[in-house]
């Protein structure tokens, strides 16, 4: 009996020992041999990599007014493996998300881990949906953080700001140019979740905090931009041009104060419109101020006069015979709009004599004249921080025809961008310094620390200060009753500027009859300019005898100049100083 009990005990012990040995062996096998396999499966089931989104930086104007910001939204995501009753979930979600219930049911029954149900759901709507899901105890629906890019000023400065595509990448303007700064860096966190899909904070692993994008502050002043856009809209309503461009620049620093084009677009619409719409309106989205080139017309005469005066080939009062309106050279006649006899260099600019300008350039010679054209920045990119800028077209003298020396001085046979034109005039206005146009003032990080500033960059001294002042004196005469731009005057200020009326180039060759690009580029106050402004209209609809820069663009400049001067608190020229303290009252304009 005792023996059999001992045997039974022994057998039981052996069986247990074998059993535990088996378990132990299996545990060792799972924990050691198949460790990686089971770790991966556990991680797949419970471990997740949470993306922590970074906010895109803002774009603001010089006064910190918002030009581009982020509106927080949620993307509704379903983890179908956690859904116990897809039909119920579809019933709850279809209405608030505005989705078709049968389609939604199909999506939720797919069994996939990650299904995007709807993007860009406003925060308030997401909260309401979350509450409804909570009441019905539905698991497996999450709300990812996202942001919609918003442009509070709509179409204002749209070509400068640009826009973004659906993948949150800048496509044009500052959005594209400064994308690497604006974008920021997403963070992540490895963590685990329980059966209910809730995160187990205690099991958080490696983590990297997100870094929000930097804020980009432009040199653009939204108030000046508004003035420019308002006047541009009025001009477009009056003249119905194919394109219209206005640029305003601070000549001493090259800072762009305002830049507007027509046609334009609302960047808020771009994300919501179909691709076909965007392709159809691609032309509207081009920043013509830097991507279009055209013959400048008579505005180019200031380059010719500045070069001649700088080289001392003439003085401002030197007299040039203007052939009574018809100058035969190279077997072709060059005409003036009105016949002139003797004109001083100043008068050549004031009257905009083609023959006079041609003779000034001939006095310089091809090579020297070409050097000044390039010196003023034509034929090369200005270097502005905007994408897509073109260099324009300036041929070297060995490619010039015999007639070129008479045509280029009056703004033919060269193609320039509007930005190059205003940059060149800025060089005249500031005493001969060619400044690089600046559109970005500084870049700050998300804590407001300035990480990059863009001080003014002088490219070169193009002409002597005295020569620049001599040209300025002549340009003052242009905006006088004697000149071509009497309508560009601004009450209380001395304006200097130059008109331009260029025939449009026919793509088939030659010029298009009756089609003109009219412009006026001027600055005020002439002695110490606060801004330079270019107004350019392509193919304005007006009477043929009024389709000139002075007639069409001049008055637009005048209205912009008057409003801008008041906004910038520029003091009108004093009338009568009296006593130690002068009190000046402006008369009603």
């Amino acid at each position: 009996m005792i023996g059999s009990a001992r045997v039974r005990a022994l057998v039981t012990c052996c069986a247990l020992a074998l059993c535990f040995t088996g378990f132990s062996a299996r545990l060792v096998h799972l924990a050691v041999t198949e460790h990686d396999v089971w770790t991966a499966r556990a991680a797949e089931k419970h471990g997740i990599k949470q993306i922590i989104y970074a906010n895109r930086g803002m774009i603001v104007d010089i006064n910190q007014q918002t030009l581009a910001d982020n509106d927080p939204v949620r993307n509704v995501i379903a983890d179908c493996t956690l859904l116990t009753n897809p039909d119920e979930a579809a019933d709850v979600l279809a209405g608030p998300l505005g989705l078709d219930e049968s389609e939604l049911r199909e999506k939720l029954a797919s069994g996939r881990h990650y299904v995007v149900l709807k993007k860009d759901v406003p925060e308030a709507a997401a909260k309401a949906i979350r509450n409804r899901l909570s009441v019905r105890s539905i698991r497996g629906i999450s709300f990812e953080q996202d942001a919609d890019r918003v442009y509070p000023n709509g179409a204002m400065a749209c070509h400068v700001i640009g826009f973004m595509n659906g993948e949150h990448h800048g496509v044009q303007g500052i959005e594209a140019q400064e994308d690497q700064y604006l974008r920021g860096h997403e963070g992540f966190r490895y963590t685990e979740r329980d059966r209910a899909g809730e995160e187990l904070v205690a099991y958080r692993g490696e983590e990297r905090a997100p870094r929000d994008g930097c804020n980009v502050r432009l040199t653009v002043d939204l108030n000046l931009q508004n003035i420019v856009e308002t006047e541009l809209d009025a001009a477009c309503a009056e003249f119905k041009p194919k394109k219209a461009i206005v640029i305003m620049m601070r000549p001493q620093t090259g800072e762009i104060l305002a830049m507007a084009n027509r046609p334009n677009f609302d960047p808020n619409d771009v994300r919501t419109k179909p691709v076909s719409y965007i392709q159809q309106h691609e032309g509207d989205m081009k920043d013509c101020a830097i991507t279009d080139m055209m013959e400048p017309g008579s505005t180019f005469k200031m380059v010719t006069a500045a070069a001649a005066l700088n080289e001392h080939t003439v003085r401002p009062d030197s007299v040039i015979f203007c052939e009574n309106g018809a100058f035969s050279y190279g077997g072709r006649y060059l005409h003036d709009h009105h016949p002139y006899g003797d004109l001083s260099v100043e008068d050549i600019l004031i009257k905009s004599s083609n023959i006079g300008a041609a003779k000034l350039a001939m006095g310089l010679g091809e090579q020297r004249f070409y050097g000044y054209i390039r010196g003023f920045g034509f034929g090369e990119r200005t270097g502005i921080s905007l994408p897509g800028e073109i260099p324009g077209l300036v041929y070297p003298p060995h490619r010039w025809s015999k007639l070129s020396i008479t045509r280029i001085p009056m703004g033919q046979e060269v193609a320039v961008t509007p930005l190059q034109t205003i940059t060149a005039l800025s060089a005249i206005a500031n005493g001969g310094h060619l400044m690089m146009p600046q559109i970005v003032h500084d870049i700050t990080d998300d804590k407001g620390q300035v990480i990059s500033t863009f001080p003014p960059v002088e490219i070169r001294q193009v002409v002597r200060t005295e020569a620049a002042h001599e040209v300025t004196e002549a340009l003052k005469g242009v905006v006088s009753p004697r000149g071509t731009a009497a309508l560009a005057k601004v009450s209380g200020f001395v304006v200097a500027g130059k008109t331009g009326t260029a025939e449009k180039i026919d793509p088939k060759g030659g010029y298009m009859q009756g089609k003109y690009i009219v412009s006026f580029c001027g600055f005020l106050p002439a002695e110490n300019p606060a801004f330079v402004c270019l107004v350019m209209l392509d193919d304005a609809v007006t009477k043929p005898d009024e389709n000139y820069g002075g007639q069409v663009a001049g008055p637009i400049f005048s209205r912009i100049g008057e409003k801008a001067a008041r906004y910038l608190n520029l003091e009108p020229e004093p009338e009568v100083p009296a006593g130690n303290i002068v009190i000046t009252q402006r008369e009603h304009d």
């Binding site: 906010n55 709509g154 904070v201 003091e571 009190i583 402006r586």
Partner: protein, 126 residues
């Protein structure tokens, strides 16, 4: 008899040692469970605070975007056209400029400000 009595004595020391070990193990076990429980509770609290913070940041961003929209030129002009706000333009006759003779555009400096220096500065200078 005496030997038998001696053999039946309760081994207090060993028993005590066993009890202490058992209590220690139990305490360690309970502490571990309590610690894990606390970690879970704290984790949930952290998660809840993070969610609240995230919501507040989103609300802040949404409010900022709305302020930007409501204070934009286009919106203000729309409201102006609707007659919700009224603006009175500053007429030229109401602009008065005061400056020293000969320094129209230059900022006033100490050398040229004798007549306009505040009294407190004079006291300090003395």
């Amino acid at each position: 008899m005496n030997r038998r009595k001696h053999a039946n004595l309760v081994p207090v020391a060993a028993l005590l040692r066993s009890v202490v070990i058992a209590v220690f193990i139990a305490a360690v076990g309970l502490s571990y469970v309590s610690f894990k429980n606390q970690m879970q509770t704290n984790g949930n609290e952290i998660r809840s605070l993070e969610a609240r913070l995230s919501t507040l940041i989103m609300q802040d961003n949404a409010a900022r975007a709305q302020i930007a929209r409501l204070s934009s030129h286009s919106y203000l002009e729309k409201r102006l056209a609707e007659g919700f706000i009224r603006l009175t333009p500053i007429t030229d006759s109401s602009i008065v400029r005061v400056h020293l003779l000969g320094s129209r555009n230059a900022p006033a400096t100490a050398d040229t400000m004798d007549d306009l220096q505040p009294v407190s500065n004079r006291v300090v200078a003395q």
